[in-house]
C-alpha cells in the first residue's frame, strides 16, 4: 500500500515540475492534459487507499527519510494514511482533478496557461503534505506550502494595476496576494509558538507521541497549546479578525477560488483542529470559544454576503460562513461532523465557484450580478448545476448540505448552547437567502446584460463535464453519512446525541423551514424587482456593503501607522544614521586617496625621499618599541 501512498503524494509534484518546464513557453494544451491525468492518478491512488483502509482497518505509515536530527530533536519525513487523512486526500485530489480539467477550458486564452498548471499542481502537492504528514513539522511545511501557492495564484494576474478601494474593494491581485500572505504569517506565528510549546513540553512533534502524552500536562499548558494552534487555524481558515484576506483572494482566477479558497486550503484550519482533537477534547472551554467564534463568523460573513453585488465575493463570504459552521462542530467536539461538513462543503462550494467561473467567462469577466440576469436561457446547464449547489448550500433535503449542516445545528442544540443554535439557525436562513438572491439575479429576471452589450454563451462541454461529478456528489454525498461516521469514528471520538426522536425531527423541520423561507423570500423579492433603491441609503446596507468597514479600519489602524513607522525608519534611521555612517567611511577613504595622490608624482627622486622618510619612521618606531620594552 505504500506504493499508492507515494503515487498519491508525488503525482502532483511530478505534474507541477512537468508544467514548470514549459512555464515561459506559450500555451501548450498537453501541459493541462498531462497535469489533469497525473492528478487523476493521484485521486485513484487515494481512492484505493480509502477502500483498503475501509476494508482492513490498517493504517498505512511510511517514513521517507530522516529530515531534522539534532540532539534530542528528531523529525522524520513521515506520512500517515489514517481515517482522517484519507478522507482529506480523497476530497482534495477529487476536487483538484476536476478543477484541473476545468482550468484547461477556463484558462484557454491566458498567456500564463502552463505556469497556472504548475502552481495549481504544486498547491495540491503541498496540501497533500499538509494532510498526510504524521507530525506537526510536516504539517507546518505543507501549511506554508499551500500559503505560498495561494499567494502565487491569487497574484496570478500580478500585472493588473492597483485601483482605489471604491472601484475594486480588493485593489489589485498583487495587493490581495500580499494581504493574504501577510495575514497568514501573523497567524502562523501563533501556530509556530504552539508547535514550540508542544515540543518543549513533550519533546516530539509526532502526532502519536504528542497525543499519547498530552493528558500528562496541566490544563493551563494544554490550553496554551490549544490557543496557539487555533490562532494558526484562524489565519488559514480566515476566521474573524483575520478574515479580510479571503474575500480579497477572489482576485485570483476562479478555478483557484474553487480549489484553494473554498474546497481545500481554507479548510486546513478545521483539519488542524480535528487532527488535534486529543488536545482540544482536554480543554472544552477553548472548544466552546472556538464554537462561539465559528457561530459569530457564520452570521457575520453571511450578513455581508446578503448585500454584496460581486458574484465571487458573495460565494467567498459564504465559504467564510460555512467555515464558521465547521468550527462550531469542531469546537463542540463533534469532530466527525466537522469533517463531514468539510467534505460535502468542498463538493458543493467548488461546484458553485466553477459555475461562477462559467458565468464570468460568458460575461467577459464581469462580476456585478446586477449587470446579469436571465442567463438561464443561454446557460442552462451551468444554471442547473449552480442551483443544485445552492440548494446543497442552503441545506435542503436531499442535497448534501442538508445532512452535514443540519447535524451541526443539532450538535449546537444538543450541547445545550441554545444561543449558538439560534445564531446558526439565523445563519442558515441568511445562507438560503443570499444563495438564491445570487441565483435569481444571475439566471432569472430581466436580461440586464443586453443593456451593457454582453453576448453570453454556454461553457464548452468538458468544463461542464468537469463540474458534473461535483454536482452528483452535491446531491448524493449526504447519503453516505452513516458509513462515513462509522469510518472516521474509528479514529475520531464519537458524538453521542442526548436528544432523540421528535425533538430531532422538530429541529430538522425548523432549519428546513428557515432555509425554505429564505429561498422563498429571495425568489419572491427578486422576481418582483428586488429591494427599493431607498434600502441602499440606509446605514445597515452601507455597513454590510463595506464589510463593516473592517478593511478600512485595518487600513487606518495598522497599515497607515505601519507605513508612517516605515517612513520614519527609512528617512530618519536608514538615511540619516545607517547610510550616513557608510557614506562617511567611504568619503574619508576617498578624500585621503585624493589628497595622498600627489605623492605619486612619478618623480624618482621625490619617491626616494618618501622612501627615506618611511625608513626613518620605521627606525624611530623600532627605537621607541625597543625602549618601551
Amino acid at each position: 500500500m505504500e506504493k499508492y501512498l507515494y503515487i498519491a503524494l508525488f503525482a502532483p509534484l511530478v505534474s507541477s515540475l512537468f508544467a514548470a518546464l514549459f512555464a515561459t513557453k506559450p500555451k501548450k494544451l498537453f501541459v493541462g492534459i498531462v497535469a489533469s491525468i497525473l492528478l487523476f492518478i493521484s485521486f485513484v491512488s487515494s481512492a484505493i487507499l480509502l477502500s483498503y483502509l475501509a476494508g482492513t482497518e490498517e493504517i498505512v505509515k511510511v517514513t521517507l527519510f530522516d529530515w531534522i536530527t539534532t540532539g534530542k530533536l528528531n523529525i522524520p519525513f513521515g506520512f500517515v494514511v489514517d481515517e482522517v487523512s484519507v478522507i482529506m486526500m480523497v476530497t482534495v485530489t477529487l476536487v483538484s482533478t476536476l478543477v484541473h480539467i476545468y482550468s484547461i477550458g477556463y484558462m484557454e486564452h491566458d498567456k500564463g496557461f502552463n505556469r497556472f498548471f504548475s502552481y495549481l499542481s504544486a498547491f495540491v502537492f503541498s496540501m497533500l503534505i499538509l494532510v498526510m504528514s504524521d507530525n506537526f513539522a510536516g504539517l507546518f511545511i505543507g501549511w506554508e506550502g499551500v500559503g505560498l501557492c495561494s499567494w502565487l495564484l491569487i497574484g496570478f494576474w500580478y500585472y493588473k494595476k492597483d485601483e482605489p478601494r471604491e472601484v475594486n474593494p480588493s485593489i489589485s491581485p498583487a495587493w490581495a496576494a500580499n494581504e493574504a500572505f501577510i495575514m497568514n504569517r501573523i497567524a502562523d506565528l501563533g501556530m509556530l509558538l504552539g508547535l514550540f510549546l508542544i515540543y518543549w513540553h513533550i519533546g516530539s512533534l509526532q502526532y502519536d507521541v504528542v497525543f499519547a502524552h498530552v493528558d500528562m500536562f496541566s490544563i493551563s499548558v494544554i490550553t496554551l497549546m490549544g490557543i496557539f494552534l487555533f490562532i494558526g487555524a484562524m489565519g488559514k481558515s480566515a476566521q474573524f479578525p483575520l478574515h479580510t484576506w479571503l474575500a480579497d483572494a477572489m482576485e485570483g482566477p476562479t478555478p483557484v477560488s474553487a480549489l484553494i479558497h473554498a474546497a481545500t486550503m481554507v479548510t486546513a484550519g478545521v483539519y488542524l483542529v480535528i487532527r488535534s482533537f486529543p488536545i482540544y477534547s482536554q480543554i472544552p472551554d477553548i472548544g466552546f470559544y472556538i464554537a462561539c467564534l465559528g457561530a459569530f463568523v457564520a452570521v457575520f460573513a453571511a450578513s455581508m454576503a446578503l448585500v454584496n453585488t460581486d458574484l465571487k465575493r458573495i460565494i467567498a463570504y459564504s465559504t467564510l460562513s460555512q467555515l464558521g459552521y465547521m468550527f462550531v462542530a469542531a469546537g463542540l467536539e463533534a469532530y466527525w461532523i466537522a469533517l463531514f461538513h468539510l467534505m460535502t462543503h468542498a463538493f458543493f462550494k467548488a461546484l458553485l465557484f466553477l459555475g461562477a467561473g462559467n458565468v464570468m467567462h460568458a460575461m467577459n469577466d464581469e462580476l456585478n450580478i446586477f449587470k446579469m440576469g436571465g442567463l438561464y436561457k443561454v446557460m442552462k446547464w451551468t444554471a442547473i448545476m449552480m442551483i443544485i449547489a445552492s440548494l446543497a448550500l442552503s441545506g435542503i433535503y436531499p442535497f448534501a448540505g442538508f445532512f452535514s449542516k443540519d447535524k451541526i445545528l443539532e450538535v449546537a442544540f444538543d450541547s445545550g448552547h441554545y444561543l449558538l443554535w439560534f445564531t446558526l439557525w439565523v445563519g442558515a436562513g441568511m445562507t438560503a437567502f443570499y444563495s438564491f438572491r445570487l441565483i435569481m439575479l444571475v439566471f432569472f429576471g430581466e436580461e440586464r446584460y443586453k443593456k451593457y452589450g454582453f453576448h453570453p454563451h454556454e461553457a464548452p462541454w468538458y468544463m461542464l463535464a468537469a463540474m458534473a461529478p461535483l454536482a452528483v456528489l452535491a446531491i448524493i454525498a449526504g447519503f453516505f453519512e452513516e458509513p462515513f461516521e462509522e469510518f472516521v469514528t474509528r479514529l475520531l471520538p464519537e458524538y453521542h446525541f442526548h436528544i432523540h426522536g421528535i425533538l430531532t425531527v422538530a429541529l430538522v423541520g425548523l432549519t428546513t423551514l428557515i432555509a425554505l423561507s429564505g429561498i422563498a423570500l429571495a425568489v419572491y423579492k427578486y422576481s418582483h424587482g428586488g429591494f427599493s433603491e431607498k434600502w441602499k441609503e440606509t446605514f445597515i446596507y452601507k455597513l454590510l456593503y463595506n464589510q463593516y468597514y473592517i478593511p478600512i479600519l485595518y487600513d487606518k489602524l495598522f497599515v497607515e501607522p505601519y507605513k508612517e513607522l516605515s517612513k520614519i525608519a527609512w528617512k530618519e534611521l536608514d538615511l540619516r544614521i545607517v547610510d550616513a555612517t557608510v557614506d562617511f567611511i567611504a568619503g574619508v577613504i576617498y578624500s585621503t586617496g585624493f589628497k595622498g595622490r600627489v605623492i605619486q608624482s612619478g618623480n624618482l627622486s621625490k619617491m626616494l625621499r618618501w622612501m627615506v622618510i618611511g625608513l626613518l619612521i620605521l627606525l624611530i618606531l623600532v627605537v621607541v618599541y625597543s625602549m618601551a620594552r
Partner: protein, 100 residues
Amino acid sequence: MITLNHYLVLAAILFSIALVGILRRKNLLLLFFATEIALNAINIALAAFSKYLGDLTGQLFAFFIIAIAASEVAVGLGLLIIWYKRTGNIDLDSLQSMKW
C-alpha cells in the same frame, strides 16, 4: 683595539653618506655610486657581525650582496646607456613617463 662598535659606526657613517647621496644627487650615475656605498656599508656590518658571532652566515650574505650588486649595476648601467641614447641626458627628474 678595534671593536665591533667601530665597525658598526663606520657602517652607519657610510650608510648615511649613501643616503644623503641618494637624496641629493640628480645624476643617475652618481645615484648608482650612492647605492653601491649603501650596499657596502651593509656588507661591512654583516662581516663585522659574522666575525663577532663566529658565524660564517654573515660573510656568506656579504658575498651574495656583492654578487647581486654587481649584476644590478650591469643591468642598471645597460638601462642607463639606453636612456642616455634616447634622451641625451641622465637627469633623474627627466624619468617621469609613468607619471599619472
